[in-house]
Symmetry: C2
Subunit: 816 residues, 2 copies
């Protein structure tokens, strides 16, 4: 009848837990004692009384035995017996009984989800503990309960986290019985007081003056930390978010570039990184401010801001959380640069303050210094998109104290964000966006009229410099982009790195993750990679993956120095399956050079691993004005028609289809399209899409919210929705696997422009975005070769004809 | 580049504030003193120093003058002067300067949103205070600041609420300076300590034994209350939500009825409410439990539950919040009934406990009583859908202590939810749902295996009784439905009522609100009605309407007895405009009998106010199997084709279109389709849709999230997204205005079945759902007459031909 408030869908549910630390039975019992789940006396109870005790502990929302017993009586151990009856009798306790309790406590429903006589059939979902005999000992029971505590419930968190949100630790904390921090199974527990969080603002003085006002830039930093940090030092999760102080959406929109402009001839150059417009700041660096005094009291707090729920989860577990928006944002000094070294310097200035190496002030004018006395000098950076980008930027400086970054959907080179193959290529969904647009959008100093009035002229000059520097007439990899390629400094990385990226992220494309990953494999650091099936999203609230636990294991190790073997327990590469919901596969690497490669030859509308063809095939780029206009305003219609077998775009593309798969092909890495191509003009661009064809139910494009606000981040603290990728209810005709673009004038190098002679064939190749894709039996691999990409390239609608010679054209697919 | 975290879209923004209490200047100053915004000394400052003080108070996130001055310096009073400079000089303070400050403090941006030389141009959005002279006095300034404090910012809350979320009250509370509760401009302020909320569970003993286990039903109640309620009594917001303890979605789905079944002949009956299957409980009521003792300490708390953010907002303001799921839900006794009097009794038992008239226990077995010592015996009910339904049910008992209900999208008669015009009619989006399905879905006792094992057989019998009682073969209004028509007891209502309903709610249809509204106009109670353009949604986070403030004004009056004139300040009827975004119109009534009526005669594909026609027009109901099957699985395709001028359904409907509107027609009330109709069978059903035709940009079907988590419900407490209805970016061909359905066997009465003679003409009428719709110039009114409604009726796909005689058929439209 209504939108249900808490809808728990069990069908298809799978628990994939990668953050479970293998623990000996002895240690399990020690840990259970450490959290007072049992005491030495409990261990000596009869097995029935021990079970009663464990059940009692599993309902911390009750404060009396009788109230708990009411709930215990509602659990069945068999068809004919409830748990309260069992513990009051002498009937032997069997493994099946424990499994039944286990499943009910985790939120599974008797009958609807499992059968009391065969609970083990849910084994594929929940890892039930194994028992050797049918009558259980105390040791068996304690082992079982330890396993229960670290297993995920149906709402995507461990049972122990659920107990904590029901007040388990609250009662112990009231009696001061728990150490802080507290770790269980290697992961930090929510024992810090979230009702007394301290919110404070400081202004870090950075070692540069990017707005040339004669003073070093002050950077506003918003700190949230547990009150316990007044007496014991804590580590910090630092999220550098240029969006955090507001954005100028309308101004950004106004600056967005027209993409309906022609492709023009570029002047040939030698193969070099050209420096066209870079200016270097020749002003001497102003002296630091003279410190007028010191204070341990902040003068400013803050209200509502953007909070990343993963950070909030750690606030309850003994970590401080720090947000800073950086140069050129509201209440900070400086100018936006969209990714240049100045922005990186501003990003790490905050870490330098957190580690005692830089000064911050209580306000912007009094020059009263305030130190991060509460910081244990260990910092992790978190966040997605631009936030993850700046985490990468910071890591490539090797700044001391930055122990790890969790880089989600981050840019590792801005060329791979705004450019590709010598072309201006928009991030998916944002045609016409460029470095200047993003700079304008994030220049939130604009939101304070007084400040903006003083900086406006300087800002306009800066914006002009970025617009000139990005040079939309020239898609080459030049000095502007080289300055914004963090991978140039990859060798400096000292922090351990966890990369998270969506295989369907056409905003920050997977190449950003893959090239960073490849660079890291050469470094003496721990590095992990998680590839999910989403676009540009967060994944910390998926039911099928214990991502938050994984990060907890990782950060407890990195920032609290817990010897929990996170670096070996977590898989190096973890990939969400595209064909089966709620399935994640561990791997050792992604896109390794040692992968197999299969070559598909081009033919008349076919891809073939066996037959070759010596014909040529043509397509035109130009469309009738009306059709062009429709596609320009309805990009999804264009995408549909591009792929459809029978299509109004039939003469505007090559559509090559491989035979129906009889086995599974697991593509892993960058597919490469080798082309022998001629064009009837002195300009040309080629786009290619690799697609999975066939009418099948595939994962939805976005995760479904299974239950609103179902995940607790602490004890009556914040909450998060539970989400998961579901199979679509209807079949779809195709799924995009990968794509790529190339300016034929950059056919040899991104850094070299060559002339095109009309109708002369050139041999070139397009490296498509890296992927990991299981093409299952019944599906067909398809390749589209075309020119204008309505979602990403400029759209000149020019009369250009492309001719592909099949003889020397082929698709190379790396696979497992 | 990314999904922005806080995106503030100003274009089209309009502030509509209906909860502003008109206040004299003297009272304004008293109130400013009461919240310590000023003191007697402040009033005597020079005007410049007073302005400095007011600005200082507007940045409560700062604790020093210097930190505040940093922020004051970032406000401009004119193109060339910032606010800090102004207060330090002797330049006269002008109205324009104050308006400029006003707008900046509310979140509007200089240049992007307004011009410093003409801030008054934003007047249509923000009600700037009026000043008589250009040089301002202290009194002017204080009046201005009072107005500022009660005006909404760009993120949909008052400036004072924003200050509170930045810590304004926190500092005063630390010094114990504020009374609790505290009211400003008639509305309760967030001065209660949300970091120390008490969560407790009690079990109320209700005066019935609906599951016949020989004991009165215990009902689980979850209470959240401010710790201050330990020492001072507080009122309660009570939300009765059957969903609150979980739902059995899969079981409900399994029980959902097949709607692809034929319409069958009903036996003629006399005009009476027949009682076919009702059984009355003849068991004697068990005695109350013997009380074993008393406690003031609950034995159980609770963790994560569904929270309605409107309730959370009031937690910070001195109200307790209580959720109860009622009979047949998890950890309560009894059986689900889908709206019968037993459910109402269970609903009000909680109110009776809150007002000291009923016993609750600390757990389910020990019989230790616990009183609501913290309750001030004043209760309001809140919630949407089933929740609002139960608020209505409770109000119709006249239960003492229930001062008001805020009924959002509530059912006032279950016949109007599952039946219509003698037909089985599904709630929109849920074909095949019925009273039994909902009972099964909400019988959350099923989720506890131990409890379920004991009650299962009883429940199956109850479910069978409901299935028989609802009788899907017979759409008549009979005793089953009469028992579930709360309007029968409307005269008992003593609580004041605020109804909120979506004019596009095809789940709980507007008739539920309208008939309740009409019943209330005869009662000596205060009653208010808000009609929005949404479907089945909450509206407490819209930017364009101060709904939360309105409820605050209302509840401060109802529950804290504040003499704030809420009953006269709030408009009786408030309607969101369908044609212009962010526009709300106050009215005195909805669908009044005194409305004008325009008659549209039927013609060949036309509706005419002038011409009549003496022809007959036919349509068939049956479709080819493939087309039928497609529509059955793609209801939106069916709806599209039903309305489209050129359509595969052209012979399966009459489509009558009025001339293009030259003036605006404001429909208000229930349009009625009068029909002279014959059918070639002994069965027949007629559906009708009234539509607005013409390719125009209309409001989107759902509100857009403008800014995630932008609204603060307290001071570092919970948050809510900011949403608003936006105009679609693309034009749509039509908008549904209203619809209705009739079984031709019920052509005279819902309570009388008459036979149909094939091919005989009958005169009948279909009262469409009530609406309020502005049909603006250029649009055309359209009427669709058809039979099977793929989204709502059963779908027999029978060979039935309908013939309409135009002579005696017409559409009657009530309008302003």
């Amino acid at each position: 009848m209504t939108v249900l408030s808490r809808q728990e869908v069990i069908s298809f549910m799978k628990l994939n837990q990668f953050a479970i630390a293998p623990t000996s039975t002895t240690t399990e019992i020690e840990e259970l004692k450490r959290i007072y789940f049992i005491t030495a006396a409990t261990e000596r109870l009869t097995t029935h009384r021990l079970l009663h005790h464990l059940l009692r502990q599993s309902f911390p929302e009750t404060t009396t035995q009788e109230a708990a017993d009411n709930k215990i009586a509602n659990l069945l151990v068999s068809k004919d017996m409830d748990a309260l009856s069992l513990v009051q009798m002498t009937t032997p306790i069997t493994a099946t009984m424990i499994w039944n309790l286990f499943l009910q406590l985790l939120g599974f429903q008797v009958e609807a989800d499992f059968d009391l006589t065969h609970p083990e059939k849910l084994h594929s979902t929940v890892n039930l503990p194994n028992f050797d005999q049918s009558t259980l000992t105390n040791t068996d029971l304690l082992h079982a309960w330890y396993q229960l505590l670290i297993t995920h419930t149906t709402t995507g968190q461990t049972f122990l986290d659920q107990l904590a949100s029901h007040g388990y630790y609250r009662q112990l904390l009231a009696r001061n019985q728990l150490p802080k921090p507290l770790f269980f199974n290697g992961k930090a527990q929510p024992v810090f007081d979230t009702t007394k969080l301290i919110h404070e603002v400081v202004y870090v003085e950075s070692p540069q003056d990017t707005d040339h006002d004669g003073q070093r830039d002050l950077l506003k930093v918003e700190i949230t930390r547990p009150i316990e940090s007044n007496t014991q030092s804590v580590p910090t999760l630092y999220t550098a978010s240029p969006y955090n102080q507001g954005t100028n959406d309308a101004a950004g929109e106004a600056l967005t570039h027209d993409v309906n402009v022609p492709l023009t001839v570029k002047q040939p150059t030698s193969n070099t990184v050209t420096s066209n417009t870079l200016t270097h700041d020749s002003n001497p660096l102003p002296a630091p401010r003279v410190i007028n005094g010191h204070s341990d009291q902040a003068e400013e707090s803050f209200g509502n801001t953007f909070d990343y729920s993963l950070n909030d989860y750690f606030l309850a577990r003994g970590f401080a959380v720090v947000y800073a928006a950086g140069i050129g944002t509201k209440e900070s000094d400086g100018l936006r640069t969209t990714g240049d070294p100045e922005e990186t310097t501003s990003t790490i200035a905050v870490i330098e303050w957190l580690t005692g190496k830089r000064v911050a002030f209580t306000n912007r004018t009094a020059n009263v210094a305030i130190a991060a006395t509460w910081s244990n000098h260990r910092v992790a950076m978190t966040g997605r998109s631009y936030l993850g980008t700046l985490a990468t930027a910071a890591a490539t400086t090797g700044v001391e104290g930055l122990k790890t970054i969790i880089c989600e959907a981050g840019i590792s080179s801005w060329y791979d964000y705004y450019r590709e193959g010598g072309l201006v290529i928009a991030p998916g969904g944002f045609p016409g966006e460029d470095a200047d647009v993003l700079a304008e959008e994030t220049f939130s100093r604009q939101q304070q009229a007084g400040d903006y009035a003083r900086i406006k002229a300087t800002w306009q000059r800066q914006l002009d410099t970025i617009t000139r520097g990005q040079d939309r007439q020239n898609g080459n990899y030049d000095a502007f982009w080289d300055q914004r390629n963090y991978r140039n400094q990859a060798a400096n990385i000292k922090a351990d790195v966890m990369i998270v990226h969506g295989l369907n992220d056409w905003n920050v494309k997977p190449r950003n993750a893959e090239k960073l990953w490849r660079a890291m494999t050469k470094l003496p650091i721990n590095h992990k990679l998680i590839l999910h099936q989403g676009p540009h999203i967060y994944i910390n609230n998926f039911r099928s993956l214990d991502f938050t636990d994984m990060v907890n294991l990782w950060l407890s190790h990195e920032l609290y120095d817990v010897d929990n073997h996170a670096e070996t327990i977590l898989p190096d590469v973890l990939v969400q399956d595209n064909a089966t919901p709620e399935t994640w596969h561990p791997f050792n690497d992604w896109g390794a050079d040692t992968n197999n490669k299969t070559t598909f030859h081009f033919g008349a509308q076919v891809l073939s691993t066996t037959n070759t063809d010596d014909k040529t095939y043509q397509f035109e780029d130009q469309l009738p004005a009306k059709q062009f206009d429709h596609y320009a305003h309805n990009i999804s219609d264009w995408q549909h028609d591009l792929v459809a077998a029978s299509s109004p775009l039939a003469t505007n593309r090559l559509r090559l289809v491989a035979p129906v798969q009889t086995d599974t092909l697991t593509i892993d890495g960058c597919p490469v399209v080798h082309l022998n191509v001629a064009v009837n003009q002195t300009i040309g661009l080629i786009s290619a899409q690799l697609v999975d064809l066939g009418l099948f139910k595939r994962l939805n494009g976005l995760p479904t919210t299974l239950a609103r606000q179902a995940m607790d981040l602490g004890d009556h603290f914040k909450k998060e929705d539970l989400r998961e990728y579901e199979l679509a209810t209807k079949p779809s005709p195709y799924q995009l696997i990968s794509k790529g673009h190339l300016n034929l004038q950059n056919r040899t190098h991104l850094t070299q422009v060559e002339a095109i002679k009309p109708n002369q064939f050139y041999q070139t190749q397009i490296e498509l975005q890296p992927t990991h894709y299981r093409l299952t039996p019944g599906h067909q691999l398809g390749l589209l070769i075309y020119a204008t990409d309505f979602g990403m390239t400029i759209r000149g609608n020019q009369a250009i004809t492309y001719t592909i010679s099949a003889t020397n054209s082929w698709l190379e697919v790396p696979h497992l």
